[in-house]
Symmetry: C2
Subunit: 432 residues, 2 copies
């Protein structure tokens, strides 16, 4: 999964429930532009919000023609707001209403969307020491525990949109997680394959070994492991569409006897394996379930076992950006490294290696976004303009999340405490 | 620093204060050996302690000639206990009294000390879910906050024993921290140099840059950085003897203008630097001071800065082995990875890389122990037999701590969130 971050803060508190239109009536757009210094009430409120955000270099153009731009650098983008109601909505809940307005064509953006969002991220950085009140509010807003049925619903919401849609922009591998770019010219498909090799090398897979995978997407990693490392794989996923696709792929490649795709929750994993791997599932697990995940891993691995978890993360605990939580990834939460340790500590796992691939995810997302834009006409045909804009916003926001460090990508290798059969150095990962 | 772990658990609670001799009178050693099944009271109590420890393959020989060995595998070592008082002391507080009795020659060990301690570590592993009572007790036993003056006292206790003593067994570099062994045949001196290069590469030091070092030991790393990477270094340490040694070394090498050794606490670091480094100091900082350390780092680094902290750690929070805390490292505490995050989280640092060098520390300690044994006659001449045994116990116990995974060694690379000037991959660390 990918995620926008808290890029914009709610400057004007609202007691209206989200989604209900503001009480104020729409105004016609023919009001004349006001001179600087004689701003409208709405203009002054917007200027105050921009000031609160650290005055990002953006220009807003209101339905009246009034232009609001913070002092300082030239704007990197121009945002046209179509109505008073839209602006009031944004002022009341910018984190959700700004992207919603864009998706609903009540707001237009002239300029580079990624750059716009990066600008907002940079200016809107949370303070080093958030106030206790903010911590409390953020704590209360945290997504609920993911139950078995709740997880199924959340996963269905995002991953079962249609394999045809995802195949338009994920590239050949259909890997929907951060790729690995050994060089700046590596292509998306090469980088996804390089990521799978990086994971297999970190796990030191040997022919004949067994691997259990928690959350397998469209099945690329399991097939790669079986094909190139000679291992047997059992891969779990609760997305019906993805499992069907993965099984079909395994059959096509003649790997059905080596890779078994199981339509079930990671909590129902049974059996013993040489390695445990999970790439891009942890974001959907929820911190409250981390000890349960640790228990699954502990009962799955022998003393010589090893494991790898690859997940979007944070420098410190923070809730998911609310628009992303609402529209894109219900129930998702990217953990801090300390939070991830709640998987490992109770079972005395040793963390052997952590690699932060944040900039690789930015690059992956840039590649996805470019493919998505190239296919946007077809996406519009499959869905509608709103859908196109929603995914554009989500992909561009995720690029910005990773380039500004609002989001991290942690690849964590671990092993049971007793396992001394681990390589002394990581040089083997980089051997040609 | 290095540390024994909680290898032995207190099976028989004692209400006598530590250090006071047991009330029972000494018995003469001429009592005849008892046949199996007709054990003495002491023998039965010892058997019960061994059973509690998971029956490690050790044989105890009492002053009476009675032999106690758990059922199962052949013993890897034989432990001769000289008196009833000694045994009762061990039964009451095995973690402290067993090593104390060895140091005071009231207990002899026939066999490999490292193997003996590894055996005990393996059998005495703490349960996956320690009871709330045990957690509470361990929590209460945690070392106190290290104040400025308290830190000075603790550091003096260990590091100011005498440079002559340390130079007998630390090798040429006088680096008293985990080395890095690129190959199994790397020597101690080579491995210490390789460690310094590994650290410099991880920090990507460039000529002309500035580095601040917190806790510099005898100064080897600062000199290496200045000499081979062309940087300016300010290195802090509160050990008077070490700073004097380091300054003398810098003068001898003509590096005084490039490396400044400051006799002061890390909390008093001032100025701005391109890199922050701390190798083997965190163990003496105390978790309560981690946010303060984070603050020091945050004010020392610019937006393009980067840092590295190298520290002994744990898979999960646990107090230092009490004998080590009492006799070797007062005030020391090896943190879990989650605990280390308390340095980074408040200041939004991104953790870029964590490498676990546990097996490298076991190898380093084996090399130190061999040099120490070779010089034990000279050490005995400088101090006494008790001192020799104390250091042997500490070094051997530390080997066992790392080989059994009771202790970990984390090398953590981090950077301010804004810093995108970081290498995409870690391949450069392994380039020839």
């Amino acid at each position: 999964m990918n995620a926008l971050d808290e890029s914009v803060k709610s400057a004007v508190p609202s007691d209206r429930p989200a989604g209900r239109p503001p009480a104020a009536p729409e105004r016609p757009a023919e009001r004349p532009a006001r001179p600087a210094g004689a701003r409208s009430v709405e203009g002054r409120m917007l200027a105050r919000l921009l000031d609160y955000l650290g005055n990002p270099p953006l220009e807003f153009i209101l339905w009246t023609g009034e232009r609001i731009a913070p002092p300082g650098a030239a704007p990197v983008a121009h945002v046209t707001v179509s109505s008073r109601a839209t602006l009031l909505g944004i002022l009341a809940d910018p984190q959700v209403r700004f992207p919603d307005a864009y998706c609903e064509e009540r707001l237009e953006i002239d300029g580079d969307l990624v750059q716009l969002l990066e600008t907002v991220y940079h200016s809107g950085r949370s303070s080093p020491n958030p106030s206790p009140v903010r911590r409390l509010v953020e704590g209360l807003r945290r997504p609920h525990v993911n139950t078995l049925s709740g997880s199924r619903e959340n996963i269905h919401h995002h991953y079962d949109i249609g394999n045809d849609f995802y195949s338009l922009w994920l590239g050949e591998t259909m890997a929907y997680t951060c790729a690995y770019y050994p060089t700046p010219t590596t292509t998306l498909d090469e980088a996804q394959t390089a990521k799978m090799d990086h994971v297999c090398r970190k796990l030191r897979l040997r022919p004949g070994e067994s691997v259990v995978e928690a959350g397998c997407g469209w099945g690329a990693l399991g097939l790669h492991m079986a094909r190139h490392y000679g291992v047997k794989v059992r891969a779990f996923n609760i997305s019906r569409e993805q499992i069907a696709y993965a099984r079909e792929r395994a059959t096509r490649l003649g790997l059905s006897s080596q890779v078994e795709y199981v339509l079930d929750d990671y909590r129902n994993i049974s059996g013993r394996y040489d390695a445990f791997v999970s790439v891009g599932m942890l974001e959907h697990v929820g911190v409250a379930n981390y000890p349960a995940l640790g228990e699954v891993i502990a009962r799955s691995l022998g003393a010589q076992g090893r494991g790898l978890i690859h997940s979007i993360g944070r420098n410190r605990p923070a809730p998911l950006q609310p628009w992303i939580e609402k529209r894109i990834f219900p129930g998702a939460y990217p953990p801090s490294l300390a939070e991830m340790m709640r998987i490992f500590e109770p079972y005395d796992f040793s963390v052997l290696d952590v690699e932060n691939l944040r900039l690789h995810y930015a690059q992956t997302l840039r590649h996805w976004l470019a493919l998505f834009e190239a296919a946007s006409g077809r996406v519009r045909g499959m869905f509608d303009e709103k859908f196109v804009r929603m995914w554009r916003m989500y992909l561009a926001g995720s690029v910005a999340g990773f380039t500004t460090g609002a989001l991290q990508l942690f690849q964590v290798v671990f092993a049971p405490r007793d396992n001394n059969d681990v390589p002394m150095t990581r040089e083997h990962l980089y051997a040609r």
